[in-house]
Assembly symmetry: C2
Homo-oligomer: 504 residues x 2
Amino acid sequence: MVLNICCHASVFTSPPSKTHLQTHLDTIMTDSNTKTETQVDAETKKETIETGDNEKNNIEAGDDEKKSTEKTTTTTADKDKKSTETAGENEMRAVVLNGFGGLKSVKIVKRPIISPSSLADGEVLIRVQLCGVSFQDVMVRQGVTEAPPKTPFILGFECAGVVEAVSDDVEGFKVGDRVVALPDHRAWAELVPVSAKYVYQVPETMPLQEAAAVTQSYTVAYLLVNQLANVTKGQTVVLHSAGGAVGQAVCALLKEIGDVTVVGVASKNKHEAIQSTVTHLIDRASDVHAEVRKVCPDGVDVVFDCQGGEECNRGYNLLKPLGRYILFGSSSIVTGETKSILNVVKSWWQVDKVSPLRLYEDNKGIIGFNLRRLLHHQPGGEERVRNVVQEVFRLWQSGVAKAHIDSTHALEDVTDAMTKMHERKNVGKLLLDLSMEPRPRPVTPAKSKKEEKEKDKDKGSVDKTGESTDKEEKSEKESKEGQEEEVEKSEEKKSEEKDDSLRI
Amino acid sequence: MVLNICCHASVFTSPPSKTHLQTHLDTIMTDSNTKTETQVDAETKKETIETGDNEKNNIEAGDDEKKSTEKTTTTTADKDKKSTETAGENEMRAVVLNGFGGLKSVKIVKRPIISPSSLADGEVLIRVQLCGVSFQDVMVRQGVTEAPPKTPFILGFECAGVVEAVSDDVEGFKVGDRVVALPDHRAWAELVPVSAKYVYQVPETMPLQEAAAVTQSYTVAYLLVNQLANVTKGQTVVLHSAGGAVGQAVCALLKEIGDVTVVGVASKNKHEAIQSTVTHLIDRASDVHAEVRKVCPDGVDVVFDCQGGEECNRGYNLLKPLGRYILFGSSSIVTGETKSILNVVKSWWQVDKVSPLRLYEDNKGIIGFNLRRLLHHQPGGEERVRNVVQEVFRLWQSGVAKAHIDSTHALEDVTDAMTKMHERKNVGKLLLDLSMEPRPRPVTPAKSKKEEKEKDKDKGSVDKTGESTDKEEKSEKESKEGQEEEVEKSEEKKSEEKDDSLRI
């Protein structure tokens, strides 16, 4: 396996000599070493408000008996009290990522409020009411996105609210405007300063919740369907993650085109909810390629793939002549709750590289799309996206673009939303509503330290890796002066990835 | 160099294990061995009518003193007489390729006429009036297209004429219909049987000459501009071979879209003729990448490339975010008058393979387009092309699609047209008109055998390769019983390719 990776890697390093992906791989492989204990400490000691994620701290079955250091020292009743605690007058709530990894790295913290005087040139300060949660947030948490900020930082790419203040040099926005914003991280807080380049006026008739649910997902969908794939009547489309917010937006836009056969791929549990939005439904756990062939023996005109990895190779072969394979995500990188280097490598290197001359022979096209890179890192991206957002708002006003909201959660319940996203259980958009009360925690008796130690011993034989090598978590543990070290040792042992022996 | 090629080849053979390109490379490397002398003999002995290409037989300067075996035994006056000779009652003229190679492999021969009774199921017999000549014909002659027929065969992909007979099972065509056809080879003859799948009714108001000039070039252009690139107002486009028939058709369609900046790449000699059709003009002999950057420092939205080879790598880097690189030809394979294995290998293997994940990061797309493969070898291709041809005829009727005719030649002057194409001197379409008289040949005294032998001795020191290894030509020579062997020895020594030591 190692030999195989090396072979591919050497191909990869021929021109272009070093891509973003590689730079990023370097980054994530060194990140945990560069993070200081002080950073982690500052986040976890006093500021932390409990997230309501006790029973969600580990998504693998059988792990719910584990508690974090703090949790074992307080009762559930205490925690509920703490989780509803609001920030003081000079404080605001924010969702902070303490280190790349699992759900327990996600904390609700109190931060000093951002004063209008601290706004940088070109910025707008938004008092946030709603936030969007997307699969990319799960990927950021795991540290598998390109060039993430150094932890700790505030998570989130989408928020909607009211303009609280405007930098002197900003035109087009005034205090009180209802806006939606797509900043580069740091959207999940009560007050968010965002460059005006990424802020959009919400139409008068549009509720903020609709803006929060529609803006990002339909912007992606519109670019995919109308500008990149250029889908026309009579065509056949394969749509991965058909049940997600973007997937449902793509379905709505394809319906508007009319006479498009949509083969949706989604987890079985979503099928009932979305079957009316697609022509055929395929279980994501099945042999998707074979199932698509059953309903479309001649192949398809477009594949919309947000998974990447091996799906790229298979998806290309499904295309009819003049077909286009559109890769707009790489969620296959995520398997277990925390990142696996092996899976990252597999996902990036197992994709067949394609010669343009092969595309010429096959009459096929491959198109990549990455909204975040376009919007935040590429010249002209802001204008392109702004034009599409305007178009999306028009489509909303005409009834074509509709909010597909799965559920709305309190900020303190952010890990509920992230878990639902990770487990691919959401149908449509997941939102955080900052005015919502956190859901009540189930009252369960706290387990004694002794009981847990015994359980961990039993688990030792199951955990083939022997000990956790998650350096970030280790670093956190060390900062807590060695308390309850055993508690976290057997985390993530039931990763979906069976050959996952390499973890960081 | 060999090591380098091997290295790339090994990468190429990883999945997909064997592409058409490779199959083809095998084919062309063995083709000359499998061709029998009898085949060549049959074509060259009695049937041959002289093509009017004496002075064009070698496009390199300084080669015009060489004559073929037959030519040295007849006077130019004799030849003119022969070249205007028409086929007898039971015979028809056809342009036959005797073996892959240079212009002298192209012969006008007399063939028995095709009788309606010999039509296969689904075929239409066309009495041809006009033929189109494209760059692909030059590539076929050299044997650098995929899976060409075994020589000898009739050349040509485009013809226009009147239906002479229709197979019983064919619907939609009747004797006397004016049609244009895009068969898979074998279009350049007085009578051509074509599967009805590749035959199109010419609109009543459309002269056949217009149909011959417009059909193929606008069909390609329409698919490129409107279906693959989906060019919209305000975009910027790089167009290689802007002066060719397809290039000029692309310009016309882009003009119809409006507000498109077109950076045309063409040989300097065409600039004056085409400057009104593009926004900027770049000399094809210059550093195209650098020149495009001068006029479009931010990059471009679309690159239309019909050259392939290294241009692919450079073209990709010119793209703006959300840009598309469209490869619709691989003419860089052709350099000298006959094929060079080294150049074929270079053109196919020097193209960087691209990972879909890189496209995802870059927000770019690569799309291949190959009309012949689509139309003749891919499911659904006939319908796709037929629909576009109908659209092209509508565009002609509305004045958007216009014939861009460079020149019209007699069938006997086919090598004039091929040379002009090869030297990239045509602006717009090259046509053959079967009713045209061949142009008069210049009267030059025939050189004596002795004179030529002496010249060849002198050339020996210039020709570094020592001796021709062009096996097909060798095979032809052997079939002519060793006459005048020396005459052809120093052919093609001034190839554009300086490191061209490998030839077949």
